[in-house]
């Protein structure tokens, strides 16, 4: 993997490459660190939109027979809240961290396909924007984030809402798939010398597994969305019972994607946790190899259990029993991870920071979500839980108590590496407590609401059913979570008052993986010389041996860089335009959009672009 000399094919790349500044820099960048920031900003934007939707939902449910939102608007809110949070907030957060951290952790200068990386972001972003435009064109999708047919069919959801769902997710799905492929290739091929698989930091491992899941799971969604698109836009009959279609088919396709999707999001969260805990406990991760094994096992089992979302669909006792047992088995590798984390802390020297608070709180909180997951795995018991607030409580414990806590923790942890500034610790701790207490207030009561008989996705409820008090508590909690997030946003903004470039490489002092060997933020080429990895926790090992930087694996030389390009942005605009064409049956617009995409692809293929070279200090041009 080392490049001792400029390969002959790159010899003519000396020509000065076109560089941009300002907004054009951001639109054309192929630098993984900048793309990470783009993903983060987009994720935050949609996280706030999804959060506002959640708070509106909770305000409607603050008391029985409330009429803050009408029934139709409420259904649009709940659909967009779920879709936004999963696809447009959690996914970009995960990709933001993967982009920001993985190349640094494996000792690479960038991802395997920098152009594809930018294309992945922009298709994601324009798909997301397309989906949200539906609010202003006469109605957002209203059939739930699962969009079960026939409710999502033309007959029962006549407006364009669900068309926006189909096209928006299809386009942003391209982005997720590209991102997944890119990181699989990056982690397999771009590891620095000595960085064997069993020396990979756990976040990289978790992301690797998650990306393998993306590569296998997202095509199922793509196929399902194409079928739904044909049903809705071209009078297909995949899901039309009258014409021989089958509605259960959609449920299977959706969940064959949908269940692994949950693991696509939670595995990187596990990874973030496995990075934060050892740093703030000043102790290496307990049971590294069993942690890796557990990740692989969770991912494998995660593909076998989709039908546990369909226990009440009527699959019969044999299928229900098998999927029950399969689902319960996931508790075993998850349990291994939980206890390994706890024993990472055991005997350590735990420093309480905002980041470590999130990480430590993650463990018991996620366990609560996990145990209700095992409860749900029991098919007959699920006949009572299914589609009630019990399920709502469960998956919010996993998603908010798991993914969001990990993302907030990761933000505090890697903010200095991404932006060269620290987040304020006091504000961080205030955010933590506000958010964490609000979270439990909101979702703990949901379990009981469900068992007392409250179905989910209801826009209102009758009085005298024993639901009133708990719904009130839940709404208060939701507002607290909103306040916590607001403080976090202020904290982020305030951090930019600090001057850039004042931070040490390893601002936490106890960094273990290689990103902490680089300046905060790292230069655009990351590594002046590709590092030599001499053990797991590579940076910690060097520090223990008294070194102040990684040992180089190559001599100093010119660094080959990929050229920036506006094409990913333009191609995504093409997809966006074509999406509109499909939704409104404007064939000329569809064709124009797709032709534009093809044109961009042709330019990309036909134009020779060998990138350019950077000559770091001490290298002759």
């Amino acid at each position: 993997m080392t490049t001792h000399a400029i390969p002959a094919s790159h010899a003519h790349a000396h020509a000065k490459a076109k560089r941009y500044t300002g907004i054009m820099d951001w639109l054309t960048t192929v630098d993984h660190k900048k793309i990470a920031i783009l993903y983060l900003l987009a994720g935050l934007l949609f996280f706030v939109i999804g959060g506002i939707e959640a708070i509106l939902i909770r305000i409607q449910l603050i008391k029985p027979l409330n009429n803050f939102l009408d029934a139709q608007t409420f259904n649009e809110m709940l659909t967009m809240h779920g879709t936004t949070m999963i696809f447009l907030a959690a996914m970009p957060f995960v990709f933001a961290f993967m982009n920001a951290v993985i190349p640094l952790q494996i000792g690479a200068r960038d991802v395997a396909y920098p152009f594809l990386n930018a294309l992945g972001f922009w298709t994601f972003f324009f798909g997301a924007v397309l989906l949200n435009i539906s609010w202003f064109t006469g109605g957002a999708p209203d059939a739930g984030w699962t969009s079960y047919v026939p409710l999502a069919s033309n007959t029962y959801s006549a407006g364009e809402g669900v068309d926006y769902y189909v096209m928006g997710l299809q386009i942003s799905g391209i982005g997720s798939l590209l991102g997944g492929i890119n990181f699989v290739a990056t982690i397999i091929n771009m590891r620095a010398p000595g960085m064997s698989f069993m020396r990979l930091p756990l976040f990289t491992w978790a992301s690797f597994i998650a990306c393998v899941l993306i590569v296998f799971a997202f095509p199922a969604l793509t196929v399902g969305l194409v079928a739904l698109m044909f049903d809705r836009l071209f009078m297909g009959n995949f899901f039309d019972v009258a014409d021989g279609g089958n509605t259960i088919l959609w449920e299977h396709i959706f969940w064959i994607f949908g269940h692994p999707e949950v693991y696509i999001l939670i595995l990187p969260a596990f990874g973030i946790l496995s990075e934060i805990l050892p740093v703030f406990a000043r102790k290496r991760l307990f049971g590294y190899s069993s942690m890796v094994f557990a990740l692989v096992l969770i991912a494998f089992l995660g593909f076998m259990v989709w039908a546990h979302h369909m226990f009440t669909t009527g699959l019969g006792p044999v299928a229900n029993a098998l999927f029950s047992i399969g689902t319960m088995l996931i508790a075993v590798p998850t349990g291994i991870k939980v206890f390994n984390w706890l024993f990472t802390l055991w005997g350590g020297s735990i420093k309480i920071t905002a980041a470590s608070l999130y990480a430590i709180a993650f463990i018991p909180t996620f366990v609560l979500g996990g145990v209700t997951g095992v409860m749900l795995a029991s098919a007959p018991a699920d006949y009572q839980y299914h589609d009630t607030y019990f399920v709502v409580g469960h998956f919010h414990y996993v998603i908010v108590g798991g993914i969001v806590l990990a993302v907030y923790g990761g933000l505090h942890f890697w903010w200095p590496k991404m932006f060269g500034r620290m987040l304020n610790e006091t504000l961080g701790k205030i955010t933590f407590w506000t958010f964490y207490i609000g979270f439990h207030l909101t979702f703990f009561v949901h379990h009981f609401l469900g068992l007392l008989g409250m179905p989910r996705r209801v826009y209102t409820f009758l009085p005298n059913q024993g639901f009133d008090l708990m719904n009130l508590i839940s709404t208060i909690g939701a507002i607290l979570m909103g306040v916590g997030t607001l403080i976090l946003a202020i904290n982020m903004l305030l951090s930019f008052r600090q001057p850039k470039g004042q931070l040490p490489n390893d601002p936490w002092g106890d960094g273990r993986s290689m990103e902490w060997a680089l300046p905060s933020p790292p230069p655009e080429y990351n590594w002046k010389q590709i590092p030599l990895v001499r053990g797991s926790d590579a940076w910690w090992k060097e520090k223990m041996e008294g070194n102040t930087e990684m040992q180089p694996a190559e001599p100093l030389g010119p660094i080959h860089m990929p050229s920036p390009s506006i094409l990913p942005f333009l191609m995504s605009v093409g997809f966006f335009v074509a999406g509109f064409g499909f939704i409104y049956h404007l064939n000329w617009l569809t064709i124009a959009g797709l032709l534009f995409v093809l044109l961009c692809m042709a330019i990309r293929s036909l134009k020779d672009d060998h990138g350019y070279h950077i000559y770091p200090e001490g290298v002759k041009e």
Partner: protein
């Protein structure tokens, strides 16, 4: 603080497990009881796991918190095979306990009584946003209020007329989806007389939240009388003009007794039912009326005048669209409210 609050809420809740006619935690029949014991088994196991994790977390946080100025380096432990085997094997055992109970219950609840002559067969057809109950053994159809005899197996055949719904009477048993194009089967038992609340549990459109129904279990004798009364010829309004308006405008979709059309809910004996439209409780019928409940006549007038105001997105036209006068609305409401079945 943060951990005590949920505990307090939990204690509050376990002392009152919800309404007897609604809560899954207050089971009123053998199916719900079997599910409840499975739920409780899971809760016990899972509480045990959670307590262990919480205890270790809190202990670790207190015991191993860094003291000020402590720069010592903890021992870098790679792992511990013995411990790792322990926390692999114990969860496997716990999962096996729950797994065995799960498989047993799954098969026991999947029994099919379709051919059992002793069982009462009910075909449930879910519509946006109401429930149709057909009794093929007796050739009768009712809506919104399921009537069943106590002490018998009730075998349900579940289908949907439009979109997917889910049939759920929490206090009596678990839910089962009503699909389009696929028929599901499920049995329930009602050992005690009473009225239980049923709900739609699958998002089915704007009024999903309001798609409630009632399940009324009565003694076998009473059930037989009800069947006979349902079979009796229809009683139309005494007033000629009103009868004409009712026949022309209401019976185009609805049916009473042997008269009327299909498509809308059957209105036979609607005056004996607990609610109008499944959600407006009739203060003159229900056992424990709430202050906000109205009489059957008042509820019917509200419903007939503007059904969209009560259940957005439902199929019933408003009185204005049907061209009903205020007088006719009131007359029809009064007639329907008095249309009671004696059983």
């Amino acid at each position: 603080m943060k951990r005590l609050l949920p505990l307090a809420v939990m204690a509050l809740l376990l002392s009152a497990c919800g309404r007897e006619d609604l809560s899954a935690l207050n089971p009123q029949g053998p199916v719900a009881e079997e599910l409840f014991s499975l739920v409780m088994l899971a809760i016990y196991i899972m509480t045990l796991v959670s307590v262990v994790v919480f205890a270790i977390t809190i202990y670790v946080l207190i015991r191993f918190r860094r003291r000020k100025g402590d720069t010592s380096l903890p021992k870098q432990v790679e792992g511990n095979h013995k411990l790792e085997i322990i926390w692999t094997v114990i969860p496997i055992i716990l999962v096996m306990i729950l797994g065995v109970a799960t498989v047993k219950t799954t098969f026991s609840l999947a029994k099919d009584y379709s051919d059992d002559p002793d069982a009462v067969q009910v075909k449930v057809i879910a519509h946006q946003y109401w429930w149709e109950f057909q009794y093929p053994q007796y050739g009768i159809t009712t809506a919104q209020e399921l009537v069943v005899p106590t002490g018998k197996k009730i075998m349900f055949e579940l289908v949907a007329a439009d979109v997917k719904h889910s049939f759920w009477i929490p206090a009596i048993g678990g839910k089962m989806d009503t699909n389009t194009g696929v028929t599901n089967r499920m049995y329930l038992e009602f050992p005690k007389e009473g009225v239980y609340r049923g709900k739609c549990a699958e998002l089915c459109g704007p009024s999903h939240a309001l798609m409630d129904f009632k399940a009324k279990s009565v003694s076998p004798d009473s059930f037989n009388r009800w069947v006979e009364a349902m079979k009796a010829p229809a009683v139309l309004p005494a007033d000629e003009n009103l009868a004409q308006a009712f026949t022309a405008k209401c019976l185009a979709c609805h049916a009473v007794g042997d008269q009327g059309g299909f498509g809308g809910p059957d209105l036979t004996g609607i005056g004996s039912k607990q609610t109008v439209a499944g959600i407006l409780f009739n203060s003159d019928v229900v056992a424990e009326p709430q202050p906000e409940d109205k009489t059957t006549v008042e509820n019917l007038i509200r419903w007939i005048t503007n059904p969209q105001e009560v259940k957005p997105g439902n199929m019933m036209p408003s009185a204005a669209q049907l061209g009903l006068t205020q007088e006719e609305i009131e007359g029809i409401a009064k007639y329907l409210a008095e249309y009671k079945l004696d059983y």
